[in-house]
Every structure is written in C-alpha cells, then in structure tokens.
C-alpha cells in the first residue's frame, strides 16, 4: 500500500501538466476571481448632460462623482450624440438633467432626470442605474430636510454578513468548490483511466492486491493533494483577499474532506464508464465543470433559473457544498445548521462508491 502511494506521487510529480493543474490552478483561479472578475462597480465612466446647470444639478453631480463609483468621462455635446458615445463604448451611463431643474423643483415640486445606461452588459447597467438612483434619492432626503412635508417613507437597508457587498465573498466558496471537484474527480478519473489504457491495470488486477486496495492506493494521494489545495485556497483568500472564516475552521476542513471523498467516488465512477484518458477528461469537463460553474449557484442564482433547471441543480453536489462553505465562512454557523447539506453530500458519496463497485465487478466478469 505504501509503495502504491509513493508510485502515484512519482506519477504526479513527474508530469508537469498535472503539477500545473494541481498547484498553478488554485492560485491563479483564486487571484483571478478575487481581483479581476469583480461584480462591484468601481470608477464606472459616465457622462452628464446638464441643460440647466444650476446649484441643484451641480450638487447632484458632485455627489455622484464623489461617491467613488463613477468618474466623469468625456463631455457629450448634446442629446443627439448619446448613441454615438455609447457606440464607442467609452461610457456606461449618461445622465441628463432637464432645463430649469432647480426652479421646477421649487415651483412644481418635481423635476426630471433621465438615466440612460449601456445594457449590452446588463449586470453592470443594472448596478450603475441602481447606484445612481440611490445617490439621487439620498440627495433628495437632504434637500427635503427642514421642509415640512407630507409623510414620507424611508427605507433603510442593511446588508447582513457581507455589508460591503464584496464579490470575493461570493467567489471564494465557489472557487474552492470548483477546484476541489476538478482536482479530485478529474485527476482521479484520468489517472485510473490511464492505467486502464496502458494495460497496467490488468497487471494490477492479476496481482494478489484486492480491487478495493488498488483503488484506495490510487485515490489516497489525491485526497492528500486536494486537501492541501483546500488549505492553499483558504490561506490565499484569508491573507490576500481578506475573506473571513467566521465559523469553525475544523468544521470547514472536515466538510471539505467529506466533499473531496464525494468527488473522488465520482471520479472513480467516471473512470469505470470511460475507456480512455481522453474520454475521462471530456466526461469530467462536461459532466462536472460546466454544471459546477453554471448550476451550483456559484455565478447564477438558483432562484432565477427556470424550474426544471432548479430541480436539476439539486443533484449537483457543488450546490450543497457551496451552501456549507458560505454558512461556515461568512455566516459563522455551526453544524446544526448544515447537517442536511452534509447528509446529502455523504449520501452522494455512498451512492457513487456503490455504483463504481458494481461497475467494476461487471467489467471484471
């Protein structure tokens, strides 16, 4: 058994490609998702067409530009040029104040501001518009101060658990999940498929080693590596990205280990249904990677999906693991809040192990 594990490490460490996948990927992914792919709006270029240019419009403009979310891009000569500006892609949003803004506000108690956003990137457009409205609403509150007014309702929102709405909070659990899934399931399925393809599996099966020992010997190194990776990702996100771990670290690591075992059994299952390394790779990519990214709630909220996809997402193991990671890291919840998700993942692990053992036996016949 020891020889087996040593041999597997030789395989991994002598193959530059698997080394890159194992140790380069986590670092790159975490940094990429943490820094580059951010859903926050910072310094979005906007243009302002001010037809009245009075103290009110100037005050609103100053407030917008000092918020840190926007910077003033080129001046737009007139409303006729708005489309042209968007077409150049230089600005994300154009704000148009109507003429005589301040005096209309005094007399008619209302004045119009037009917000035009570039919705070719809908997420950003949405964010930009809602930030703008919020800032204008804020100004309105200040403006109304001291005036006697009919009753107004004021909403005050508070963002629990992630007050700064940092996207890192959303990405890190997803990245951990994807990487654990990828490394364990894909690497194990490929490494077992490789032995099948090269014919060494046959030699191993003829030896006195039991099939269960052979499989265990093959997957144990990957458990170790995946676990090391989980630690690397956590350290990176804690020290570099400032991601908190509010709950118990021990619980988080234990849950990660469970998820790794689940991904392993899935990897073994994939290797039993594929007869070449290529096929194992393709299966892992399509059966694991894409659904993990798309259907786990990592990037797209599950609540917004069509009902059939929502139901389908239930059988995606990463979906449950992401909930677990978020609960522990961000909300600081204990085991009693996540036992259900834990049970689901454990159930999946048992299911895939049972299935692979059956498959393996059939193949031997």
């Amino acid at each position: 058994m020891r020889g087996f594990i040593i041999k597997e490490f030789y395989h991994i460490f002598r193959d530059i490609r698997s080394m890159v996948v194992l140790f380069g990927m986590p670092v790159i992914q975490v940094l990429l998702f943490g820094f580059a792919l951010s859903t926050e709006v910072k310094n979005a270029p906007i243009a302002i067409i001010d037809h009245s240019n009075d103290q009110v419009t100037r005050a609103i403009t100053t407030k917008l530009l000092s918020s840190g979310f926007f910077i003033l891009s080129d001046q737009v000569p007139g409303e006729g040029h708005i489309e042209e500006v968007f077409r150049h892609g230089k600005v994300k949003e154009v704000i148009v104040f109507e003429s005589d803004f301040a005096s209309k506000l005094e007399k008619d108690r209302q004045a119009g501001i037009q917000i035009i956003a570039d919705a070719s990137d809908p997420n950003t457009a949405n964010l930009v518009v809602s930030y703008t409205s919020a800032i204008i609403g804020d100004y309105q509150q200040e403006y109304l101060k001291g005036m006697s007014l009919p009753v107004t309702v004021r909403t005050e929102s508070q963002m629990m658990y992630n007050p700064a709405l940092k996207s890192v909070f959303m990405f890190v659990p997803g990245v951990i999940t994807i990487l654990l899934m990828l490394i364990t399931a894909m690497m194990t399925s490929i490494s077992i498929a490789r032995e099948n393809e090269l014919g060494t599996m046959e030699i191993l099966l003829v030896s006195p080693m039991r099939p269960i020992q052979i499989i265990a010997g093959k997957v144990l190194p990957y458990v170790l590596l995946a676990f090391t990776n989980a630690l690397i990702i956590l350290l990176l996100s804690y020290f570099v990205l400032g991601m908190p771990v509010k709950g118990s670290l021990v619980l988080l690591l234990a849950e990660s280990l469970l998820f790794i075992v689940m991904a392993l059994s899935l990897g073994i299952f994939i290797s039993t249904v594929s007869n070449s390394q290529q096929m194992a790779m393709m299966l892992s990519m399509f059966a694991l990677m894409l659904p993990t990214i798309l259907l786990s709630g990592f990037i797209f909220p599950i609540e917004n999906m069509p009902v059939p996809l929502q139901i389908f997402s239930n059988i995606m193991p990463p979906r449950w693991f992401i909930i677990i990671v978020k609960s522990i890291m961000i909300k600081g919840l204990g085991f009693k809040y996540i036992w259900k998700e834990t049970l689901i993942i454990a159930g999946m692990a048992v299911f895939f192990i049972a299935l692979s053992i059956r498959k393996f036996k059939i193949r031997l016949e």
């Binding site: 020891r2 041999k7 395989h11 193959d15 060494t200 030699i203």
Partner: protein, 239 residues
C-alpha cells in the same frame, strides 16, 4: 505433476459461447503454447486461468487451487505479462521493480536481491536509474517479463509477449523463457508467430471456442502433414 488442469471449461457471454468445453492440462516446468486466431477465445480462457474472470461451468485448477473459490491463492502463485507493454513508463527501471515487488508482498531486502539478480541476467544493471519510457521496446519487453517473475511464481502467463519486437530481440526473449522454464517455472504463452510455436514443448490450437489440436509441434506436423506449424495452423483454420 499437472500445474494446470482444465476439464470441460465453458464460458458464455449471454448466448455467445467463448469457450466451448475446453479440456487440457499443463505439466510443471513445461512451455505450453496456446495458439488460435483472433477471437478464437484464447484471451477469455487465459483470463479465467488468471482468476480475472470466472467460468460458467467446468473444472479449472491452477497450481492446485480452484478458480471458483481460491483466486486469491492462485494470484499469489502466478505471474502475468500482457500483450500491451505494461510497466510504468514514467518510473525508472528500479522503481518499477520496487513497486511490483511490493505488490506481491516481498520484503525490501528480497526485492533488492531479486532486482539485482534479474537485471544482471539481462545485462541492464547500468540502466536501473533510467526512466522506462526512454528505453527501446525490446528492453522494456524483457524488463516486463522479469517483473512478471520477480515473486518466483509457479506459472507465468505471457499474452503475446513478443508483439512488435525485432527478430533478434524475439530470439533473446525466447532464450530468457527457456532459462526461466529450466528453473521450474511453467510458461504458458500465446503468440501469433508460428515459428515461436516450434519452441514450445506442446501447443494447443483453438478455433471457434474449441481446442481442435493439442500435441507436440513435431507430432502435429506429422499428423497434418505440414512442413511447419504455420502449415498446421492454416490447415486447421481452413476447415
């Protein structure tokens, strides 16, 4: 003494009969050639003898153990080399021996001793640190054979061991096989090279799941009135 005894072995896959009432036996220390066209059922029979697959019916004893219930014992007593070259290409020669020796439960000291001895016989001691993938195919084949007998099995099964190897290396390979047999290890070999069949003490020829001929090469040639085993084989295949 009979090291392999097979009586009325039948193996069916659904309605397809891969092995149809095979009966043969192999003597201890013998070199036994197991011939047959592709798809004749050789591999299926060999898998059963190695304990990788169980027969549908019939009596099969290997090294004195029953293949139905004692495959674990059988696996300890046999060595196997497949037609596909099957050592680890990214490990060194030495590491391959270490690994396979370990699998058969040999102690590190034993592994070292046998590896040195086997490499010495091949004259490859100086290559032991080399990564296997960088060696020529003929060497790899010989190494694979040495690995298959590192635990001193009673029988070694060779499934087309010389596929894709040049004539000189094939010749050397058979010299090693003879040497091994002279140490009392039974050699059970399948091959597509009919000239190699002449090296065997006895050969059986399979067709459509049945053994249609079994004797010494000399007797077969007389019986089928052929100049060599290839002629025997062709005559059988045509019927």
């Amino acid at each position: 003494m009979k090291i392999i005894e097979v009586e009325n072995l039948v193996k069916k896959f659904g309605s397809f009969v891969a092995n149809d009432h095979l009966t043969f036996s192999v003597d201890e220390g013998e070199i036994y050639g197991f011939l047959g066209a592709n798809g004749a059922g050789k591999t299926t029979a060999m898998k059963i003898l190695c304990g990788l697959s169980s027969p549908t019916s019939g009596k099969v004893m290997v090294a004195g153990y029953d293949v139905y219930h004692q495959t674990e014992m059988i696996k300890k007593r046999i060595g196997y080399m497949s037609q596909r070259f099957s050592l680890f290409e990214d490990l060194s020669v030495w590491e391959n021996f270490q690994f396979f020796g370990g699998i058969y439960g040999l102690s590190p000291a034993k592994i070292r001793e046998r590896t040195t001895e086997l490499l010495g016989r091949l004259g490859l001691e100086s290559e032991k640190k080399q990564i296997l993938g960088s060696l020529p195919l003929g060497w790899k084949q010989k190494l694979a054979f040495s690995v298959a007998i590192i635990h001193r099995p009673s029988i070694v099964f060779l499934d087309e061991p010389t596929g894709g190897v040049d004539p000189i290396t094939r010749r050397q390979f058979w010299e090693i096989i003879y040497e091994t047999a002279s140490q009392g290890i039974t050699v059970f070999v399948t091959t597509h090279y009919m000239d190699e069949a002449e090296y065997c003490r006895r050969v059986s020829i399979m067709a459509d799941g049945k053994i249609v001929a079994l004797d010494t090469p000399a007797n077969l040639k007389t019986k089928y009135n052929a100049a060599n085993i290839e002629g025997v084989f062709l005559k059988i295949a045509r019927n």
